[in-house]
Each structure stands twice: as C-alpha cells, then as structure tokens.
Symmetry: C2
Subunit: 141 residues, 2 copies
C-alpha cells in the first residue's frame, strides 16, 4: 500500500540558504523568552528538527549534523519554528532539558555582558563541563 500522506517540503525551498547552504538558528526559551544560543542549520538539519520537534543543527567545526544533547543530554524540545522576513534566519522556541544550553555549563551561551569596555561574565556555571561531558552514559548529563 502506497503512502499517500507525503510530507510537504516546499517550506524548505522558501529558505534562503547562504552560499554554504546554511542559515542561523536562534534558540529561545519558550517560557522565559531568554535567548539561549545561536547555531547553524542546513536543509537536512531543519527538516529533521521539524520532523522530530527536537533541535538538530549543523556543526560547522565538525562538519556533520549535531543532535543537540547527544553528548550532554541537554536536548532542546522544539515547540515552534519561526522564519524572518528575509527567509534567512530561524528562531526556535524551545524547552531546554537540564536547563543548560551552553557547553560551559551555563544556562545561556550569552553570559557575557559589555560593561565599561569589558566583557563580564554575569551568569553562573550551573554544572561543571567535565561532569556534563565526562560521563556520556549518565542520563543526568
């Protein structure tokens, strides 16, 4: 029996990918509105993100899909996907499992604030990165 419920992908064609096939994706805490991080997505990453309701980025440094939380357990559950007027930036409204988005162990990657010509860290480390990434089998990581 044929699958007659083809999933439409026209919405992916509307995205204006950059010359590397990527767009920036901003992860925003759906409840608090806090901006937690920005990463990059290619077409496959965005399609999988929408299909799984889980943030999947493209790691430019590793050159492969990055299922956020795959090492840390800090999965981002996606409740909403937004596109901007130029169709070249994505916003994900998410719930951040574990409450930590940043690899430094902080809630948000934007933990430095400009104060009198200096970047000052203004958010605490909630968990030692060694504890986050050192025990990959630990479901609490």
């Amino acid at each position: 029996m044929q699958d007659t419920t083809a999933i439409p992908t026209d919405w992916l064609d509307e995205i204006k990918w950059d010359n590397q096939g990527l767009v920036p994706a901003i992860a925003q805490d759906a409840a608090s509105g806090d901006i937690l991080m920005m990463a990059w997505m290619n077409r496959e990453a965005l399609e999988l993100t929408a299909a799984e309701n889980r943030a999947i980025y493209w790691s430019r440094s590793r050159g492969k899909l990055w299922r956020k939380g795959e090492s840390s357990g800090h999965v981002q559950q996606v409740s909403e996907i937004r596109l901007d007027c130029d169709a070249d930036v994505i916003v994900l409204k998410i719930e951040q499992l574990g409450g930590i988005a940043c690899h430094t162990g902080r809630r948000s990657c934007f933990y430095r604030r400009l104060e009198d010509g200096q970047w000052v860290s203004v958010e605490p480390v909630l968990k030692d990165p060694d504890a986050i990434y050192g025990h990959k089998g630990d479901p609490s990581a």
Copy 2:
C-alpha cells in the same frame, strides 16, 4: 589639553569576526524578551553601537553602515550588549522606537510560523511600509 580618557577597544579584539569581518547581532526587546530581528555587524558597527547606545548594523546588501531607523525613524535604543561563549554572536537588548522592527511594518521580523508544513504569517502589519518609508521627513515614520 590632551584627552586622557582613552576608550578601551580590547573588547572588540575579542570578537571572532567571520571571514567577511562580520558577526550576527540579534535584537531582543528588553522588556518583553521578544526577538525582533537579526542583522550583521562589522567592527565599526559594533563600536558605534556601544558608543551611541543605538543599534548600528552593517548592511550586506548595500555594503555600508546601517543606522537602524535612519529612514523609518524606528531607532533601536540599546540597553545591553551580550556576547556568546564562542565570541561570534551578539545579542542587543533594545527598546524599539515606534514598536516596529520589520521593514514589512510588523513588530518583529519573525512573523512567520511553521504550521503543518507551511509558513503562516501570525503577526499583523501595524503600519503600511509605504507610510513608513514614503515620507522621510515625517518624524512619526
């Protein structure tokens, strides 16, 4: 008499500009937490933004500094500048004068939401773009 109050710019050296000398800058409404837009900054744009407490971007399409609001009057007053862990993305906490960040006349550029495989506009046009950009001498624009 010499100026002895040199403004430090070391903080600009800490930014990891991309190969075009740019970083993404996310403008977030300081009061509501809503993400209003994302644009790009070069070193001069970020330095001026910090000096004037007003969002100044680099227009990639026009190849010049873009003093947000210069045509529309929709200036963004900056209350806080944040930097992420990788030092390659900026968040500006702003007050959006006129309540409209988007050139389409909407509050936010992220007015399209993915619903069942389609981008659906979910935010109203608050002001006709012709009215915003058609009367450059009009202080209400």
